[in-house]
């Protein structure tokens, strides 16, 4: 007999079902009204603070008891909602003042492959695109990003990457996610884009071997190009210490005007002004299965996606005006 554990009948502040185990009256201890019902009490300006405390306590309780669920890739929406997203939100809203356009091009449900340009030494552009979709898209979609294998080798980073919904950049994982109807993010430039010198800013690098197009075709998912402006200036890389990088096992070791000269202070990114634009989707279903056998179709599609992103980047660069806008 599988024990179906009774869950609390109440709803959390977010309007979701409370996941705490229920007591005899069908409510968990947290939601059982205390002797003096707090709802009728006027808490004055402290009310919202207490609501926040209640939500934080609910979260902590779930974490301590292991009362949360992750999907087969390790995605932990509870952790993203309460820890990861709140940490990134100030960067998005206040530090880089991100403006997001074209969200209507991302479907509300079903699979799609979001393909973007990659820059800025550390993959903050990917994180900001994901946060834009989570916070500002009407369906609050989770972007499941394909990350480099280095991310899954590093302690602390590895589990965090998985819990935020990312997985290894390999055809198997991408196909599986798209077949499950997820929104998948891919940055085909990889390290070549991330670790390019500042003087080459906003020039898109080679798009790998175009494996992402093949996966989109195979799963019949639309491709949504996304152009990010602003990430190039967060850590302007003036030199790359290749030998040191090789020694440490990193793809590059950046030298910026402030790093490593100012030590940890140099790791603070510059507050450039950001624009994220999602471009109209490129449908792949009407190309048919025979397109998969034709390498020319794959090359053309790859170039089409790359050109779309490059042009949008140039247009938004002009629109942005000054770097720190």
């Amino acid at each position: 007999m599988t024990p179906t554990r009774e869950r609390c009948q109440a709803h959390t502040k977010k309007g979701e079902r409370c996941r705490n185990p229920a007591g005899p009256d069908g409510l968990c201890a947290l939601h059982t009204p205390p002797t003096a019902p707090p709802g009728e009490q006027d808490l004055g300006p402290l009310g919202p603070v207490l609501d926040w405390v209640e939500e934080a306590l609910e979260f902590l309780g779930r974490r301590v008891l292991g009362e949360y669920e992750v999907d087969e890739f390790g995605h932990d929406p509870d952790l993203v909602e309460h820890v990861v997203a709140p940490l990134l939100r100030p960067l998005y809203r206040h530090w880089w003042r991100v403006e997001t356009r074209g969200l209507e091009h991302v479907p509300d449900s079903g699979p799609a492959l979001v393909v973007g340009n990659h820059a800025g030494t550390l993959p903050f552009d990917a994180l900001m695109v994901a946060l834009a979709l989570l916070d500002e898209h009407p369906a609050h979609r989770s972007l499941r990003m394909l990350a480099a294998d280095l991310a899954f080798n590093l302690p602390v980073v590895a589990p965090l990457a998985r819990k935020s919904g990312n997985t290894l950049a390999c055809a198997e994982d991408a196909t599986r996610l798209l077949e499950a109807g997820e929104l998948v993010g891919v940055w085909p430039e990889g390290y070549k884009g991330l670790g390019k010198p500042y003087r080459e800013r906003y020039q898109l690098q080679r798009f790998g071997r175009g494996g992402f197009v093949e996966i989109a075709l195979r799963t019949g998912s639309p491709i949504v190009p996304v152009a990010v402006v602003g990430s190039e200036e967060i850590y302007p890389m003036i030199a790359n210490l290749r030998r040191l990088a090789r020694l440490l096992g990193f793809p590059y070791f950046p030298v910026t005007p402030t790093f490593p000269a100012l030590g940890p202070l140099g790791a603070i990114p510059l507050p450039s002004k950001w624009l994220i634009e999602f471009c109209p989707p490129i449908e792949t279903t009407d190309l048919g299965p025979e397109a998969l056998l034709d390498p020319m179709v794959l090359f053309d599609l790859t170039d089409q996606v790359r050109d779309t992103i490059q042009q949008t980047v140039h247009r938004n660069l002009l629109a942005r005006g000054s770097v720190f806008g």
Binding site: A29, G74, N153, K163
Partner: protein, 347 residues
């Protein structure tokens, strides 16, 4: 004529349980239980215990003369210490299987072969795909139980080529848990603190012991689809989550020291280096083939299976009541304070 079965590794937890269930099935005429160990509780009357090693000639005679129609091979072990060292373990696993298959080749009535294998054949590494399907080419583990299982599976496949009339079912089982299971992983969770690799939190899958018995029973007595199937409870559990459900404090250990600690812990838990890597990178297998072709859907999800194991076997340090009570008390106190402030301050 009823079914005549031969079960290897029959005295261990899984085997003993399965033999008990099989003996109660009306269509089963005879069960030969092979194991050189004595079972913890004696076998039922219908079962005849053949107390020999897999490498013994008595086994060959029995397989050939007793009219065995189904051979169930559970006799591969993941525990080097219990087997008498890694070398003996390998010998028992691989050579034992070879002997069994050599005998089975000459068994005229044999129609079905069921092998209990493991998802450990996929290994555990940072660069693995998130979810393994049966057909994916895996980065073969270079030693330990996983390597044994790969070799055993290879021999079984080559047996299938030589005896195509025998339906061969290979079940790759995820880590088993449950009220009576005793394996390195259950002993790990029974430690007073659970050592983990600092900065890693692998995804794990569990299979409840009831489901282990159910899937074996289905492969033995149900319609027989030949093939290889991953078997695991639905969903995944993170190691950190499992440790919290177990109510134990985790003990994160920096990667360079992990092997030394594992050696120390290994004495009580019977841990091999590959299991340490498993606790660093984890592993998840796709179970849709078992559902579609074998028609097996586990009753217990990974999470429920583990919760059942934790509830029946472990003493929790932190309980749900404590946590909810603390939450309740803190919130009540804050509410009262806030209410008082709201009333008093305006004056």
């Amino acid at each position: 004529m009823g079914r005549r079965l031969l079960v290897t590794g029959a005295a261990r937890t899984t085997g003993r349980r399965l033999v008990g269930v099989l003996a109660e099935e009306p269509e089963v005429e005879r069960v030969v239980a092979v194991d050189d160990l004595e079972p913890q509780e004696p076998f039922p009357a219908k079962v005849e215990h053949l107390a020999v090693d897999l490498r013994s000639p008595a086994l060959v005679r029995t397989v050939q003369s007793a009219g065995i129609d189904t051979c169930v091979h559970l006799g591969i072990t993941a525990e080097p210490r219990a087997a008498g060292g890694r070398v003996t373990m390998k010998e028992r696993n691989v050579l034992g299987t070879m002997q069994l298959l050599a005998a089975a080749y000459h068994a005229p009535d044999l129609r079905r072969l069921v092998l209990k294998s493991t998802t450990a054949v996929y290994g555990a590494a940072a660069g693995d795909p998130a979810v393994w399907t049966e057909s994916m080419s895996h980065g073969s583990p270079r030693h330990g139980f996983g390597k044994d299982a790969i070799e055993v599976e290879d021999y079984v496949r080559s047996f299938h080529r030589r005896r195509p009339d025998v339906a061969v079912t290979v079940l790759r089982l995820a880590n088993q848990v449950g009220p009576t299971v005793d394996n390195p992983l259950t002993r790990y969770f029974e430690l007073p603190v659970c050592p983990t690799v600092l900065g890693f939190d692998p995804r794990l899958q569990f299979l409840h012991e009831e489901d282990t018995a159910a899937v074996l029973l289905r492969s033995i007595l149900g319609p027989a689809p030949a093939g290889t199937f991953n078997v695991a409870g639905d969903g995944v559990v993170l190691l950190s989550q499992a440790i919290r459900i177990a109510g134990k404090p985790p003990l994160p250990i920096p990667e360079p020291l992990v092997n030394r600690v594992a050696e120390m812990v290994g004495r009580t838990v019977d841990f091999s280096p590959e299991q340490v890597r498993f606790l660093q990178y984890g592993r998840v297998a796709d179970t849709s083939a078992a559902a579609d072709q074998l028609g097996f859907i586990p009753k217990w999800s990974s999470l429920h299976a583990f919760e059942d194991f934790a509830a029946t076997r472990l003493r929790k340090l932190v309980t749900e009541e404590q946590v909810t009570r603390v939450e309740h008390d803190v919130l009540g106190l804050l509410r009262r304070t806030a209410g008082w402030l709201a009333r008093e301050l305006p004056r």
